[in-house]
């Protein structure tokens, strides 16, 4: 699959939008926990789904620095590059 930063951002937005619990529009600036009202379990499940699609693992300390969809996309892009 296409793994340039824009494609990864699109993947994140599509995956989040497909979740029936998410009713608000999602963009790169969306703050994952606050704007989407997801608890820590839902965020973990979402990240695991993306990890499977991109064949990467996001270390937990990197997750702690991530607030927005763009933050996550940048982190994933870097991990994919070093795969």
């Amino acid at each position: 699959m296409n793994t340039d930063p824009q494609a990864i951002t699109r993947l994140l937005i599509e995956t989040l939008t497909a979740n029936p619990r998410i009713t608000r529009p999602v963009s790169g600036e969306t703050v994952i926990v606050d704007d989407l009202d997801l608890d820590s379990l839902a965020v973990m499940n979402f990240v695991m789904e993306i990890e499977d699609k991109l064949d990467v693992s996001v270390p937990l300390d990197r997750l702690a620095d991530i607030r927005t969809v763009d933050d996550l996309a940048r982190c994933l892009t870097e991990l994919v590059r070093h795969r």
Binding site: D39, S40, L41, A42, M44, M48, D55, V56, S57, V58, P59, L60, D61, R83
Partner: protein, 397 residues
């Protein structure tokens, strides 16, 4: 803005719980009469949420050992293990635990939480990887986070996902340590340890098993899941606790790894905290001796678990995947779980209420623990309470 403003969401959730009844996270036991009964609000309740699997908190040998030792050795060590806090008792317990598990070394910590904190934070260096099951206990998450290692979660009980994630760590320097639990504390399910060991062998990883809920519960001799599955020689570190099968408080790690003792001067949660009081060590030693000498405790535990689980399952409750001393009763939503929990306590049965996001799949749980000391009459009485409360709450059973 108050420093506590970050907890405003949590505070709202707590207010909502309190409107529905009493605070489930602050139940005050005016007395604990035995391993199976306590007094709440002046009334007797059956204790079905203690994880006191062998009932040894009230065993006569353990009580005598604690009382005599407090009188002769004092109420506390007032020191850490690296200062004045290592007594002959601590040394003896470590030797006895090592012998029980057939291992060369053992470190005792003041709590089980600290055992995970202390071992994982010390073992995980900056080039290392800790691969932890997604459903791990907080102490495993926290101990891992305190380490300098890269911490990666793998899908609960999924050896294939573990293998994929191990492969992704590449061939760089550093160790890979896989961390699983024997029995998981939410649903009472067990790790697929034989398959996890196979992954470990293929990848050269090390393996730590936290047998907190399985020590004294699984295995012919009570050594836990590793014994039950026949893979003890493949487990590099076993971590456990005294607060379940041994009825006291504390934790340990046993291992055969050469040089293990260096952790005594590298593990902060071992070094910079007071050691366990002499009476606690004494009762723990007595409890370990009872566990080793009395396999009938384990048999009674499983007979009770089978009786309780079977009765609730036949009544239509949705439970965890297999019979276990941890019997998790799934509730359809938070409001029902809270109402049911309150009604059970009013009817005379105490269980643990566990709410998302602490639960594995977002569903609230009433977590019950059955113990060896429960009589059949007590098990049947608890089941009867569940049935009578369920009659008022549709959609639960």
């Amino acid at each position: 803005m108050s420093i506590l403003a970050k907890f405003s969401g949590l505070a709202e959730a707590r207010e909502s719980l309190l409107r529905a009844g009493r605070d489930p996270f602050h139940v005050v036991f005016e007395q604990v009469l035995s391993a199976t009964e306590g007094i709440v609000d002046g009334r007797k309740v059956l204790l079905f949420g203690t994880n006191n699997y062998l009932g040894l908190s009230h065993d006569p040998d353990c009580l005598s050992a604690a009382a005599e030792t407090a009188r002769s050795q004092g109420t506390g060590t007032t020191g850490s293990r690296i200062a004045n806090g290592t007594h002959a008792l601590h040394h003896a317990l470590e030797a006895e635990l090592a012998a029980f598990f057939g291992r060369r070394s053992c470190m005792v910590f003041t709590t089980g939480y600290q055992a995970n904190l202390g071992i994982l934070s010390a073992l995980g260096g900056k080039d290392d990887y800790l691969l932890i099951d997604a459903d791990s206990h907080s102490s495993i998450y926290d101990g891992s986070r305190l380490s300098q290692a890269q911490v990666v979660r793998f899908r609960h009980n999924d050896p294939d996902d573990l293998y994929r994630r191990l492969r992704r760590t590449g061939d760089g320097p550093g160790s890979r340590l896989v961390v699983v639990e024997g029995i998981y504390s939410m649903l009472g399910d067990v790790a697929p340890l034989a398959e996890i060991v196979e992954v470990k062998r293929r990848t050269g990883a090390l393996l730590l098993v936290d047998e907190a809920h399985s020590f004294g519960v699984l295995g012919e001799h009570g050594r836990g899941l590793a014994e039950a599955v026949g893979v003890e020689q493949e487990v590099d570190f076993i971590v456990g606790t005294f607060s379940k099968s041994l009825g006291s408080v504390g934790g340990y790690c046993v291992s055969d790894i050469p040089g293990f003792d260096i952790l005594r001067v590298a593990s902060r949660a071992y070094m910079f905290t007071a050691s366990a009081p002499p009476a606690v060590i004494a009762s723990t030693r007595a409890a370990l001796a009872r566990l080793a000498a009395a396999p009938e405790l384990r048999r009674r535990l499983w007979a009770n678990a089978t009786r309780f689980y079977g009765a609730l399952e036949r009544a239509g409750f949705r439970l965890g995947p297999r019979i276990s001393p941890i019997v998790a009763v799934r509730m359809p939503d938070v409001a029902t779980a809270v109402g049911f929990w309150n009604a059970l306590l009013r009817a005379g049965v105490y269980v643990n209420l566990t709410l998302p996001p602490a639960t594995p799949d977002d569903q609230p749980l009433l977590r019950c623990s059955v113990i060896a000391s429960h009589s059949e009459a007590q098990v049947d009485a608890a089941v009867a309470c569940f049935l009578s409360v369920a009659a008022e709450w549709r959609g639960v059973a």
